[in-house]
Homo-oligomer: 242 residues x 2
DNA sequence: TCCGGCCGTTGATCTGAATCAAGGACAAAA
DNA sequence: TTTTGTCCTTGATTCAGATCAACGGCCGGA
């Protein structure tokens, strides 16, 4: 059974209450946010917005996964971010969206109209402080990702990606657990700066080596975590990418 | 003649007064910052800090250029940021440096000890607000850079890089002007996810095509801006990368 | 002025991943 | 059940950029 998000939803029972932009807010501040919030759900595969569109709302992902990407004219596409629950979408001070946003799975967002939200950011320091923290986390993740895109081999990219998936999954500790891979091969390719064929081949190699195994296209298990770590190309004291 | 940065330097006559983290501060707030600031200069080529070092100070670049980079164990290196005057270094809430920092040219920073600065970020909303703006700008730049690293050809990378250099140079309008290229070929390669040989070759190609010309290794002129733009692979309504 | 050490250029060759191409598996629709 | 479309896999071939290698130019120090 899943939660229903509507005007009756209380912030206090929100699943992202302590991780989203409202994390540092007290009850009074939460009330201010609450007054300007509304929920919206997008079907899997639906565009949430295109680069250049007017930025009418700021949103927090409440459930589901959205992608941020940019395309060159000839169709080459690079994903530049994956938005998971509690991640924030939109940037104060800009009037347009800067990247294409798509719902990878069904996505529900908690959103705020632009003007009132920008006013609130000025007036409630706890919101700006939390947004700063989150922006710096994302900046770090983006920089780690730049290392992957610029310098890692296809094999290292795939291994790093799988490692990230299990670290960010709902049961991160359990390496033997079945992990969901919500992206298609093409989406993974756009995330890693590869082609979908190369993604498929490298997954097959890791499978043949006994490092991972698939129950179906979208679910896998780690059979040999040490080997996966090794294949990432990162130092042993590896960093947290997201 | 260059400015001397010492304890007598007044914030009001600081070259980055209106762009750095203090940009939104009023005189009173500036005074608080002023009480905990000091200056430090690093020679060209010197390391400013290594990943994992204790983060003792937060710094604003006052003059010069610094680089942020990460290396894999086998020596492959990816630059993940170029810090120009007014850019900020260090991240509240972390106790270690997360990337290697090097002085590309001689660098002077205005710096603040960690604890008092973190306290100040909590107490002076204008600082957190400005830092948020700057972090979001950097995040955007990092994401644009991810597109370059993941999807652009060597030629497109070089053209995009040159375009960025002239946009961020001190005389951005003047396309006929002589522009400084403060990085070595190897540094450019580490920035673009290429080898130094490929950088050299692509610069030669653009030179032979009459798009750019070099007066010496570190200074060039744009001869054909339209051709350079075209070679970047970006849409005509190109974005601002930094 | 000569020497030694970067730094940069250019050439030859190699190779990892892209591209081109053909099917196969699966799920939803008819 | 068959059809249709999407997603994925696998094979053959190509090619952009890496790698390996040699040398040239410039600058600072002796």
């Amino acid at each position: 059974m899943s939660i229903v998000f509507n005007e009756h939803m209380q912030c206090s029972s929100c699943p992202i209450r302590h991780r989203a932009i409202c994390a540092r807010c007290d009850e009074t501040e939460l009330d201010l946010l609450s007054q300007i919030k509304s929920y919206k759900t997008f079907d899997a595969g639906q565009p949430i917005g295109w680069r250049g569109d007017d930025l009418t709302h700021f949103s927090s992902i409440v459930s589901g996964i959205a992608s941020l990407s940019r395309s060159l004219e000839d169709g080459r596409t690079q994903m530049v971010g994956l938005l998971l629950p509690s991640d924030f979408l939109g940037r104060p001070g800009r009037e347009q969206i800067e990247f294409d946003v798509n719902a990878v799975t069904e996505v529900t967002v908690c959103r705020f109209e632009r003007k009132p939200f920008e006013k609130l950011v000025e007036e409630v320091p706890h919101v700006a402080q939390r947004m700063l923290e989150m922006a710096l986390d994302e900046l770090n993740a983006a920089r780690e990702w730049m290392v992957l895109l610029g310098r890692k081999t296809a094999r290292e990219k795939i291994a790093t990606f799988l490692e990230m998936v299990i670290r960010r999954s709902t049961n991160p500790g359990q390496e033997a657990a079945l992990h969901a891979l919500p992206l298609t091969r093409e989406e993974i390719a756009d995330f890693l700066g590869l082609t979908l064929e190369t993604v498929s081949r490298q997954l097959t190699v890791l499978k043949k080596e006994g490092v991972i195994s698939f129950s179906d296209r979208k679910h896998f298990t780690i059979s040999n975590m040490a080997a996966l770590q090794d294949a990432t190309g990162d130092d042993a004291d590896g960093d947290v990418l997201f």
